[in-house]
Subunit: 246 residues, 4 copies
């Protein structure tokens, strides 16, 4: 079995464990933000878990790189994966680790059918809502003019932002909070696009009427085939005709 199959097999095998690790990361990310009374030990443990998940994703990247046949092409076509692995090393930021985990998870998804794409999008939307709420909460809670101070407010704000409703009763006031907000807004627009495209594709597939022309064509081709078959029978008969009897 050649290298490419080995890489594919690895990707198939590692998909579920990495998804599970991403969920572990989600919990480790959420705990210190939600539970403000958490002691130093808990926070430290969560940081360790986060780095552990990052390590698993980094290992996955290296294994895939080792198993691939053409490493140069792999690095070039997977530069986003490389960034997501290297970036948290450069800047010491929890948010960056969050973004890179989401990125790495997304890059691994295989989408074959419309239902899978839609499921994936729904999962991403829920994930973005959760992580967006937590990230904004951790940033805005300490802002002097901030108005997002509880998890409930953060979740509510995420929903009003992602659906582009934007009441304005809660809005981020810090630079970082606003960058997260822009991410949520763009996700909201993408979500709207996917929902609309889904319905449109379903409508067009189910109610399209121009099949009429195509069905007429098929009928015409079948009629023509009948005609040719009859012709062939006639020629066969001609050939079988006894030699001119005289």
């Amino acid at each position: 079995m050649h290298a490419r199959t080995a890489q594919e097999r690895w990707e198939e095998l590692s998909q579920r464990p990495l998804l599970a690790l991403a969920l572990v990361f989600a919990v480790a990310y959420a705990v210190p933000i939600v539970d403000t009374s958490a002691g130093h030990t808990v926070t430290a443990a969560c940081t360790v878990v986060e780095w552990g998940v990052w390590g698993a994703f980094a290992t996955d990247y290296l294994v895939r790189l080792a198993l691939t046949s053409d490493r140069r092409t792999f690095v070039r076509t997977h530069w986003l994966d490389l960034c997501a692995v290297v970036l948290p090393l450069v800047a010491e930021l929890r948010l960056l680790r969050l973004v890179s985990t989401l990125l790495l998870l997304g890059r691994r998804a295989r989408m074959a059918t419309q239902i899978q794409v839609t499921t994936y999008v729904a999962g991403v939307v829920v994930g973005l809502l959760m992580f967006g709420s937590l990230a904004v909460l951790s940033v805005e809670r300490d802002s002097p003019n901030g108005n997002i101070r509880t998890l409930g407010d953060a979740l509510w704000w995420s929903f009003t932002t992602m659906t582009t409703v934007g009441y304005g009763d809660h809005a981020p006031t810090t630079g970082m909070g606003r960058i997260i907000a822009v991410g949520l807004m763009l996700s909201g627009i993408a979500l709207l696009g996917v929902v609309t495209a889904n319905i449109a594709a379903w409508f067009i597939e189910r109610f399209e009427k121009d099949d009429v022309e195509e069905r007429a064509q098929t009928a015409a081709i079948l009629a023509l085939t009948e005609e040719v078959r009859a012709l062939r029978a006639e020629v066969a008969e001609l050939r079988e005709r006894p030699p001119v009897e005289r």
Copy 2:
């Protein structure tokens, strides 16, 4: 006549009465919220009517279950119906009864054409606007910081939410009010998707220009058929030729 037809006949027969009962439910749900001066008797009567409608939908579920040939499959594929029937029994909540009635009504709809789908969506949107306004009004009216205190404000807020305009002059402040709001926002996005998809499907169907290629094909097939027909005539003539005259 076998079981499946009996089930279908029942569903056809019961569709209109159940729709009427849902309207009765709507009135029974609305009265105690809109008419705050309503006495104890009226409120009690409305609760009785609500439970009555729930009973009718539960009976309908049982009848369909009895008429189906494969009960196991029915329960598995209609688990949402089962939830909608059972849930109001577990938690004593008016809102839950509302949601389950809407769900049960929706599950019964048969959609065969694009116009039916659009009509159904329009009906659901109007229903959600009505029920959403009432539900938010009943929840927010007693909130100390609430700003949705009249039916007019609630309706206005529903519209600004569902169209994702979101002025922010009125916004829910309680947890329950915000959950209802999220439901309205998601419905609004779905509504936008259906409207867009409808127009897109209509545009693509009506103004598509790639029929040109298909019409060229049909012409080519017809020309070919002519050719074959002429060939057949020629062969026939060949066969009819008098034996070599000498």
Copy 3:
């Protein structure tokens, strides 16, 4: 020439004059709202012009009714036109006259191509923005808590509403103002749908790749036709063959 052609000819002839009258109506509607210092004479003159335009549209309806062959069908299929003509007689409201004029104008539009539909939608959007601004201004100006008091504010508010941005710096406070706002919101959703559908139809038409299959089919049919033509030539030669030379 039979009745139906006469009706069509009338509709073609009257389209431009009615469009011009609608513009006159627009001016007569706008003047008393924009120019608050307008004297009694000007306001009275504008009301006369409005009724005059209404009269022209009513006459147009009657002429079309007279020219049609099947009056019963015409009334049934054009019930919206009838409503638009009769309603301003029942209730004495400027807004109703406005709505009915817009309705009557829209019912007359003939849409044959995608560009015509898009032009029509663009025209309707501009019209709704203008009329919506004026209508809201006239209603909100006298509201005690109103915050839309100048034409500039009204136009700005119309744009933020129709694009579903909804800052909330200006929002209607009266019942009538909110009804107009709901109209603008729904138009905004329709506008978004038309824009998206246009781009989608253009994308699908221009970049569709499944023509490959169709072009392959056309090639196959042409090759087959060549084959049959060669066959026919062969048969013709067979027939022309000199009788068995011996």
Copy 4:
């Protein structure tokens, strides 16, 4: 080589330099707005650069006009280019020079594939966000009631406007600021349309199921071709038959 090719060659050659000049213009436009402490010399230098870029675009227009074969048609079909060149001469406004540069840049874009269209749209969106922020900042900074006073606020406001979220925590108060805002809103709607249309086209192309019918047709045509080929072989054999052996 005839005139049309010369024009095309010029447009190809000049595309990159003009894009670079547009970026220079962007910097010259941004500097005096962002750096409020910039001295008179810097501001003057920036104005000179802006006029220089305008001059380059005007020269480009004249060269294309000189190289075209049919000048009358060129002027008529490129009237928007003419406006963009002439307008900054008529009114002395920085904003007008900005709009005309964006227009001239856009008119030069060649869009052949869906990816190119999407890249172009993404570039335009980023450009509009940048320029919109700067333009609003320069206008609103000096407004007495203005609430957009820093570049950060301006960028944040641009994003909330273009995604149609519209929190309302920042909103333009001057007439010019609102005109810019309307431009951003309309761009936002177009952006949403392009995103949705892209996803829809991708969905329809990738998951469409009506190829089944077309593949059946191809199979039918191939079977028919086989049939005709067999017929032809039979006729050939008939012809090759030795003359009646007796």
